[in-house]
Amino acid sequence: MTKRTGVFVCHCGNNIAATVDVARVAKEMGEVEGVIFSKDYVYMCSDPGQSTMANAIKDNKLDSVVVSCCSPTLHEKTFREVTEDGGELNPYRCEIANIREQCAWVHKDKPKATEKALKITKAAIKRVQNNQSLTPIGVPVTKKVMVIGGGVAGIQAALDLANAGLQVVLVEKSPTLGGNMIKLSETFPTLDCSQCILSPKMVEVSKNKNIKLLTQAEVQDVSGFVGNFKVKVRQKAIFVDPELCKICDDCSKVCPTVVKNEYDENLTARRAIFIPFAQAIPATYTLDESSCLGLNPVVCGKCADVCEVGAINYDMRPKIITEDVGAIVVATGFDLYGKENLGEYGMGKYDNVLDGLQFERLCSASGPTGGHVLRPSDHKEPKNVVFIQCAGSRDPESHCAYCSKICCMYTAKHATLYKHHVPDGQAYVFYIDIRSGGKGYEEFVQRSMERDEVMYLRGRVSKVYEQDGKMVVKGVDTISGKNVQIDADMVVLALAMQPSKGTADVAKTLKIGRDKDGFLAEAHPKLRPVESVTAGIFLAGAAQAPKDIPETVCQASAAASKVIALLSKDELMHSPAIAKVRLSHCTGCEMCVQACPYGAISLTGPGAKASVNDVLCEGCGTCQAVCLRAAIDVKNITQLQIHDMINASLGV
C-alpha cells in the first residue's frame, strides 16, 4: 500500500537549527519513499506552525505524520492534537523524531549532527508508516483518595481534598496524627507555637465527615491503576476502643511497664498503655503490643481492671482493610539521619549531645522539662551550647551529599530560643554557609546574631568528646584561621534529613521511583514536581526532598489540586499503545508475567497463554524485551517497526 507521509522539521529557533541543517533534513526526507510532503519551519509548536501542519495533513490527504522536533515528552501531545483536531487524522498516526535532546543539544559538528538527524527522522518515518490507528480506552474513575502519612503534608492534602468534596482515607503508621511537626516547639521565622498551629488542623481532620482516619496502619499492597487503585491496608490492633476511652489516665498509672517515649525523642519514659500527647488524634489511649507484658489477663491485666468504661479489650486483632481509590498522595515524611552515624560527634553515646528534634522537645512547654532548657545528664541549665550545622549533610564522602535545607534556619531558631530560655547563656553555631532564602528568613538569622549575640563560627567541628562533665568541642574557625576549642555544656547537632524509614517500602509497594538519595522521585523536576512517575500517585512533603513547613504545605495543596483535577472527570482515557500477544508464538513460559512492572499480564485460556489487561498495561515494552519468542509486541512499536527503524538508522 502506498503511504502518504508528511514530515515537519522544526528549527526550534536556534535550538535545533544552529546544529542541524534543517532545510537539508526537510529536503532529503521529501525524497524518502512514501513521503509526499516535507517542510521545515521556525517554531512548529507555534500557532502558525500548527496551522501549517493541520492544513498540510488535510490538503495532501496525509495518512501518517512525523514531526522532527524536541522530545516527545514535551510536544507529542501537542502535535497529536493538531493531527486529530486540525488534520482530522487519527492521533496515533503522528510520531515524533527527537532531533533536539537526542541530536542538536548533544552534538557540535553540524554536518555530522545533520547526518544523525536524517537517520532519526527516517527511522521515525519508517515507524509511522506501519502505525495503526488507535482509540484511547475509557476507564471509569473512583472518586476517593488515599493519603499516606499523617504529618502536616498528609493533613493538609487530606483537608484540601475533603473540602473539595472527595472521600479521603488517611493512613498513618503511628498512633496519632501530627508527624514530626507536632514535636516542634516554635516554628521559624515567626516563632509561633507549632502545636498551636497544627492541632486545629488535626481536630479538623477528625471532625471532617469526608475523611476516614486509619492510624497504626500501613499500606501492604497496591494493585490497579490510575483512577482505580485497590489498596490493602493493615491496621494494628490498638486494644482500646477510641469511642469508649475517656482519656482519664487511670490505665497508664497502673501499667507496670516503662519504655522510652518516642514522642519526647526518648528523653522521657511512657507506659505500655499511653496517649502520645494531650492533643493526640484520635484522642484515645493506645496499647503498645511490643512493650505490654503479654495482653494476657493472667499475667497482668491491670489496665483492663481499672478502666471504668471497659474500653480495653485484649482480644482485638489486626485488620486488613481494602480500599478502592482513584488516586494516592504519598506524604511519608522524613527521619533524622541518626546520631549513631556520626562517629566524630560520639555516635550518640553522650547524653548531652542532642539532635535537633530532641532540642525542640527541651524547648517545648509540653516536653520532658516543661519548657526549660536543661541538659539531660544532670538537669542543670547549660550555659554554653554549641550548635553544629550540616551534621551529616553536604558530605558526599562519608554521609549525605545533599543540603538538608532547613537546618540553617532551625539552628538560628534553636539558638534564639535558647537565649530566650537562658538569657545569660552563650550559643555558638558552627556552619559552612548560611542558607536563608525565604520570606523573613535572612532577617531572622541576622536577628539571632545581633540581638541574641549568637556566635557564628564558620568552620567544621572535627571532634566532640566528654571531659570533666563538659562536652569538649574541637573545631576550626576558618575566618580567623584558628583552631577553636569550646568547653560546652550541651551540643546540638543539626542532623541531615533523610526519607522516613518506611519510604523505601512504600515506594516499592506503590511502584514509584526514588532518587539517588532515597527520596521519592518526581515525574519532572520542574514541570511535574508533585507527580510521581506512576500515573495517579502524587507526592507531598519531605519524603520527596528536604523542605520546611511552608513548602510542605504548598506541595500538599498542590498535590491535592492535581488529584482534584484528575478525579473531576467521570472517565479517564488510557493510552491504547499497549502490548498485544501473538498467541501463535506464545509458549506460556510466564517470563512476561514476572517481568511486567504493572502486573498487567496473566496466563489464561487453553494452553495457558499470556493475555494483557488493556487498562493495566502502560506500553513500557518490558515484556517485549524479555520474550525470547517474539510473542508479544507493543502496538505501534512492533518488532517489524523496530526492524525497519534499525534498517533506516543503518542506512540499509
Binding site: 513460559c589 517470563m591 514476572q594
Partner: protein
C-alpha cells in the same frame, strides 16, 4: 558406585506398573563408543539401559521432542514420561519447568550420579589412547575411568579425558529428581568455574575477534547446535523463517510482518549474529551441558560463548540456571540487590 542393575529394576517396575508411558535413557550404541539415547516403552527392554561415562547426551532434549510429538499425536495418555538425568540434565529439566514448558507431574526424573568424574570426552580419549579403539569406559572410583581396549582394561585419571564442562561443573549431582541412583558427589573443583572463558578473555580484543571471525567463517549453518539444545524449543527461530509457524489463527498481517533479522547465507556477519543471538537467548538458561559444542561438525568452541553469558549471570546476579524450578527466570526478575544503581 552407581548400581545400574537397580536403575534397570526401577525402570522396569515403572513400566510394569504402568505409572509412566516410557523411559528415556541410554543404551549401548550400535556404532561408536558413546552411548545412544533410547526411549523404552517395553518393560522387557529395560535391560538395555546402561549408565557409564559414555552417557554424554542431555536427555532433557527428548522431553522437549516428546512434547512436540504429543501435540500431533491423538493419544490421550496423560501418564508422565520417565527420564534418566545427570546433574546437568536435571538442571536443564529445571529450566524447562521454570519456563512452564511442561508441568512437573508430566515427568518422572530418575537422577543418576556421575560419580564425581563426569562423562568422557571422546576426542580427548582418542588422543590419550593414541589410535587404539576404546571398547568401553566405566567409572572407577571418583577420580578415574576404567577403559577397555583390545589390549585389556586400564585405569586412566578421569581429569585427563573428562569433558571440559565436567571439569568446570559446579553442581554435578541432580538438583531435581524423583529417585536418585549413585552417590551424591557434587564437589569436584578440578577447574575454577568459568576457567576456560576467563582464560580466553585475557586475550586482546583484536585477537579475540580474529579468533571468532575464523570460527564463524567455518560455520556451516547446519544448526546442529540448535537442534541438540533443549532450550532451543521456539517454533519460529530468529534465524530462519522456514519454520515460521503458520497456524489457523495466524493472521495475514502476521504473515506479512515476518522479519528477516538474519540472512540465511553463511556470511560471517550473519553467522556471527546467529551465534550471538543464540548465546543471548540462552543467558540465564544455559546449563552448560555443552551438547552444542560436542555435536558441532566443525568443532566451533560454542561453550565459550554460552559460558561467557552464564558467567555474567552468575557474577553479576548470583544466578545459577536450573537451581530452583520455582524461582523466577533471570531476565524476567528484578531484585533490589541487582546492580545498576539507576533502577530504584
Amino acid at each position: 558406585m552407581i548400581d545400574v542393575a537397580a536403575l534397570k529394576a526401577h525402570a522396569k517396575s515403572l513400566l510394569e506398573k504402568g505409572s509412566v508411558r516410557a523411559v528415556i535413557g541410554y543404551r549401548k550404541s550400535t556404532a561408536g563408543l558413546l552411548a545412544e539415547p533410547a526411549t523404552i516403552a517395553d518393560a522387557d527392554a529395560t535391560d538395555d539401559l546402561i549408565f557409564d561415562p559414555t552417557c554424554v547426551q542431555n536427555l532433557a532434549l527428548y522431553l522437549v521432542n516428546d512434547k512436540k510429538e504429543r501435540v500431533h499425536s491423538r493419544s490421550d495418555d496423560k501418564r508422565p514420561i520417565a527420564v534418566v538425568a545427570k546433574g546437568c540434565d536435571s538442571r536443564a529439566i529445571t529450566v524447562l519447568l521454570q519456563e512452564k514448558h511442561f508441568p512437573r507431574e508430566s515427568v518422572h526424573v530418575i537422577g543418576v550420579s556421575c560419580e564425581g568424574t563426569g562423562v568422557v570426552d571422546a576426542r580427548k580419549l582418542a588422543k590419550k589412547l593414541d589410535g587404539k579403539k576404546a571398547l568401553s569406559v566405566n567409572f572407577d572410583g571418583s577420580e578415574a575411568f576404567s577403559i577397555t581396549t583390545e589390549d585389556g582394561a586400564q585405569s586412566i585419571p578421569a581429569a585427563e579425558v573428562m569433558a571440559e564442562r565436567c571439569l568446570e561443573c559446579r553442581s554435578a549431582h541432580p538438583t531435581l529428581s524423583d529417585m536418585t541412583f549413585g552417590e551424591a558427589k557434587s564437589e569436584r573443583a578440578l577447574h575454577a568455574p568459568f576457567q576456560a572463558v576467563k582464560h580466553k578473555m585475557k586475550d586482546e580484543q583484536d585477537n579475540r575477534w580474529a579468533f571468532w571471525a575464523r570460527q564463524f567463517d567455518r560455520c556451516l549453518r547446519c544448526y546442529a547446535c540448535r537442534s541438540v539444545c533443549p532450550m532451543c524449543y521456539c517454533e519460529e527461530c530468529v534465524v530462519d523463517s522456514i519454520n515460521f509457524a503458520v497456524l489457523p489463527d495466524t493472521t495475514a498481517d502476521e504473515k506479512a510482518d515476518r522479519i528477516k533479522w538474519i540472512e540465511r547465507s553463511p556470511a560471517r556477519s550473519e553467522t556471527a549474529m546467529y551465534h550471538m543471538v543464540r548465546a543471548i537467548h540462552l543467558a540465564g538458561r544455559c546449563v552448560d551441558c555443552a551438547e552444542c559444542e560436542r555435536v558441532c561438525p566443525v568443532n566451533i568452541p560454542l561453550r565459550l560463548l554460552n559460558t561467557r553469558l552464564e558467567m555474567e549471570a552468575f557474577e553479576t546476579f548470583e544466578y545459577n540456571p536450573g537451581s530452583d524450578m520455582n524461582a523466577p527466570t533471570l531476565t524476567s526478575s528484578f531484585r533490589d540487590t541487582d546492580p545498576n544503581s539507576f533502577i530504584r
